[in-house]
Symmetry: C2
Subunit: 220 residues, 2 copies
DNA sequence: GTACTTATGGGTGACAGCACCCATTCGGAA
DNA sequence: TTCCGAATGGGTGCTGTCACCCATAAGTAC
């Protein structure tokens, strides 16, 4: 008799029970895939990896406590990190580059069909990058190429301080309030705001708010 | 032989295939529930109701094109509207009251367990209001009581015109742009904006943006 | 060590946002 | 019929936002 081929062991992390349920049913239906653990947030996922041996982690981008992106950063620092697949509601570019930056092998939207998710798992395990929708794959290839050639990133990314200011603006605080909160000058906050608008190509605070919500920096 | 009891016929609307998949599997496993149609956005859902007879519509709050809340408003205007159950990512109060206001019988988080969703369907069909998490049910009872006694609502509700302006503000348009878009005076738009801020207890356009996203009026 | 980035702070001016004041028109409810 | 709410529009003034200009200290990169 032929030996049972080793299944790909999967950890599934998503805070929505209904989503986990759907994904699990899809994956367990495949002969070569097996969900061996579930987690309801990023912290649980990281903890679970200490107890269970898995080959692939599927992480929802937006989760309470540790977000999927934060969890991915943590997982990437392990001795022998498993492959990672990010699951997202949004086909937002920003999310997507963040995901690649933290070392994910793929980025799958929750609106994809069953087969696409299954394919993403297999592709990720082969060490290739998978991205859905396909329209983005040119972007990925380009990005990974650059990364491979050591060209680092084109980096329109915000600095830590700018991220702080971005978050406060998006939460509806005025320039004056932010200055008090960070105990820096009003003018410095204005300076940061200008840089943020310029780097992200936004026009005003309203658009900053939407950006921050899309990027998962704040809750709506 | 006993006649087969009539199943509750359900239309399931969610833009995420994976979520629809999970929910459908949960519901179809019940002997008295049957998903007879699916829709990937609010407009599809409304259209589907013209072709298929359903008893209960399960609507994701946030969907492209017509959001769940907008679709619910449209469905509520039908001759014999089906019961409606809102499905949401967020346990946010704002969403929740919006859902009740448009006539939904229930509000269920995507993080609930299978049984809770099934119970929500049955409770909604009995004409009762269901809400998860339970902590909110006091709120709901109070709200529905007031509504029933004809006390109308404490009325923080916006007029149609104000809703239009709200949406445009939240999408990042300036007062001048909105005036052009609606072909009314700059001052009138300012007037509407003032009323919106006052009615909703908000302070500026940034907060309007978050409100509109929470309320499902615009996509983040 | 020179150059670049990051964070810090200042000044000025144009304009937008917001909060008050005012009024008219129209339709429906009391 | 009278009155109220909704929609329309105007005036005035304060404050906030944003786009430019400028500079310095500290750290990093080459």
């Amino acid at each position: 008799m032929t030996p049972t081929p080793a299944k790909i062991r999967i950890l599934l992390a998503d805070d929505h029970t209904l989503v986990r349920r759907g994904v699990r049913l899809i994956l367990d239906a495949e002969p070569d895939l097996e969900v061996v653990a579930e987690a309801a947030d990023g912290a649980e996922a990281v903890a679970a990896l200490r107890d269970v041996e898995v080959d692939l982690v599927i992480l929802d981008v937006a989760m309470p406590r540790l977000t999927g992106l934060q969890a991915a950063r943590s997982i990437a620092r392990m001795r022998t990190p498993p492959k990672m697949l990010m699951l997202s509601m949004h086909d937002n570019e920003q999310y997507f580059f963040e995901a690649l930056k933290v070392g994910a092998s793929g980025y799958v939207l929750k609106s994809v069909a069953d087969e696409d998710l299954v394919n993403a798992c297999r592709t990720a395990m082969n060490g290739q990058a998978f991205v859905y929708p396909g329209a983005m794959s040119a972007l990925v290839r380009d990005y990974l190429d650059r990364l491979h050639r050591g060209e680092s990133l084109p980096n329109n990314v915000l600095t830590e301080r700018e991220d702080e200011v971005l978050k406060l603006i998006a939460e509806g605080h005025s320039t004056r309030e932010i200055a008090r909160e960070l105990t820096i000058s009003y003018k410095t906050v204005e300076r940061h705001r200008e840089n943020i608008l310029a780097k992200l190509g936004l026009r005003d605070r309203t658009q900053v708010t939407r950006y921050a919500i899309r990027a998962g920096l704040i809750e709506p």
